[in-house]
Symmetry: C2
């Protein structure tokens, strides 16, 4: 049998924001799986800030998406045909299936999901890559200690909201930064000590007022002026975790760097980057810890699920950079 | 008895480069020491890049020099009168005596020198604060390992030249960056594997050619474009040691930050600052190690000694930012 799969392919590499020329909607035929393969019917596609970087033809931590190929994306789905010893029809799975309706897989990087623990969108969010990113970034790079003061940017986002709640669970003082009153209200609702609306407040002044003795850990998802505001308000021995720089991912030229980087010297501080894939062999540790918190209610896993199928991907991606989502942004197929 | 001391005082805080209005030449009277004090006749004054920062009225790792007071400076000298149990007339000493001919001290932060080990200028250079900075920055912050590739900027300067030679002694591949053919020639002479003249070569391209597999440690004394060139050429797990940013110390506005800071993420790298004063209780360890290397010839301690007395300080300081020195820049009184 064959499956007809609508897919979003990369048509031309964008400069700046992806537009109508960037993508093509393609109808592909997926054939019966060969020995060692299976076919997945995709139900939810993850939208990730890092996607913009995958469109640039530059050396990075993963190779760029090739022109003419399906856009890379994490997704959940159900196995609908299998010639693979490890997966049977009906298995719920997550993997890098792409922005497609049907994907063929050899099982590499694919994990089975327990939908009794949480729904598929959560397995793309708090229990998926964003959750892993939050867990290892906070513990291994930020080395957050109980009682410390931590600032998280994009705190209402997929990674930030997990970081903030993990830090609260550790007994830390947590200051979140987000855009708009709704996100700020949600952050207070899930227990953050303070929340700053960067769209209407001076982050620099508010950080100075809220953390007059300085910040121990700054978990950076955004870069730009907010990173500079954090650098200006460090405590001695502070750690900055570089997780992302969403404010500049669509810039046509390399954005300005953090002017206040010499604060690292004054405060004997460290700024370190990481890539979550390096922690792959420890994902089970993180999934166990985060699942337990979801189950006992100490971690609120929230997703913004968009309808619209794979055709909706181009608009959904722009929405991500616009901050339409609270929690993880997911596209329903 | 009293001593007449010519001194350079801070007259007005400069914007940009210090000029004629910045300094005043003052004649002060130094009285006989009270109980617990002694008087030092200064013979050599240290010129340090960090001095420019001490003139700004901002919160930093040391308080700013006050207007109307003698300029802060490390210096060597001889005790000429003492009412202090720990120091006798004739002792050779080093301390933060300032840009003065005679200083009164209570002994705090003052160390006796062994002039048989090295002359006074070396005690302000390779065996002084620059040597301490090199030693702890390289070992404790850079965590340099034998066999690694290290890049050092301002490699012909007081700190950089010690860093480069310590790294060679550890069996590392050392690439120095300096300004002009004379400095480059000297770096080759003291054993560096490669030396880049940033005034006539593209540092970015040369680093890519000389270290195609990337840099393990970058010891940064300069900031600016050279820091960006290093960021673009890291190896996975690289460490950047932020020691200084001499390229921007005289800027009137905050210079641009490192545009390529997100390389820290791609390369899972760390950028960390430090202040040498934090290692004060371990200075003896560093002095012992560095003295041994000076004695056995594996560390060439070089100084550029300017004549001219305290009156020569304003011009000497500008010369430092202009890079007139090879090795440590010292003003002879």
């Amino acid at each position: 049998m064959t499956w007809t799969s609508k897919e979003i392919h990369l048509a031309t590499r964008p400069t700046g924001y992806p537009d109508g020329d960037t993508w093509s909607l393609v109808s592909a035929e997926v054939q019966d799986p060969a020995e060692g393969e299976f076919v997945v019917e995709v139900d939810h596609i993850s939208l990730d800030p890092a996607m913009r970087g995958w469109l640039n033809d530059v050396r990075s931590y993963v190779p760029p998406v090739k022109v003419g190929e399906a856009m890379r994306a994490l997704a959940t789905g159900t196995v609908v045909a299998s010639a693979h010893a490890g997966f049977v029809v009906g298995d719920a799975v997550v993997g890098t299936f792409g922005v497609v309706e049907y994907a063929k897989s050899n099982g590499r990087g694919v994990t089975r999901l327990d939908l009794d623990v949480a729904g598929a969108p959560t397995w793309l969010g708090a229990l998926g890559m964003p959750g892993m990113t939050a867990y290892f970034g906070l513990n291994d790079i930020g080395r957050l200690q109980p009682g410390e003061t931590i600032v998280v940017s994009a705190a209402a986002g997929a990674v930030g909201s997990v970081v903030a709640q993990l830090a609260k669970a550790m007994g830390c003082r947590v200051i979140g930064i987000a855009g708009g009153p709704d996100k700020v209200a949600w952050l207070k609702e899930i227990g953050l000590d303070e929340a700053i609306d960067y769209k209407s407040e001076s982050v620099h002044k508010r950080l100075r007022a809220l953390a007059p003795d300085g910040i121990d850990v700054y978990f950076d998802n955004v870069g730009g002026e907010i990173l500079d505001a954090a650098l200006a308000n460090l405590r001695r021995g502070a750690r900055i975790v570089l997780c992302g720089a969403i404010s500049s991912y669509n810039d046509e030229t390399l954005a300005e760097g953090p002017r206040r980087y010499m604060s690292l010297l004054v405060f004997r501080a460290t700024m370190a980057g990481f890539v979550v894939f390096d922690y792959e062999d420890r994902y089970p540790e993180a999934v166990a810890a985060l699942s337990k918190m979801v189950a006992d209610g100490s971690l609120v896993a929230r997703e913004t699920v968009l309808d619209g199928g794979v055709e909706g991907f181009p608009e959904a991606l722009l929405g991500l950079y616009d901050g339409v989502n609270t929690g993880k942004l997911v596209l329903k197929v």
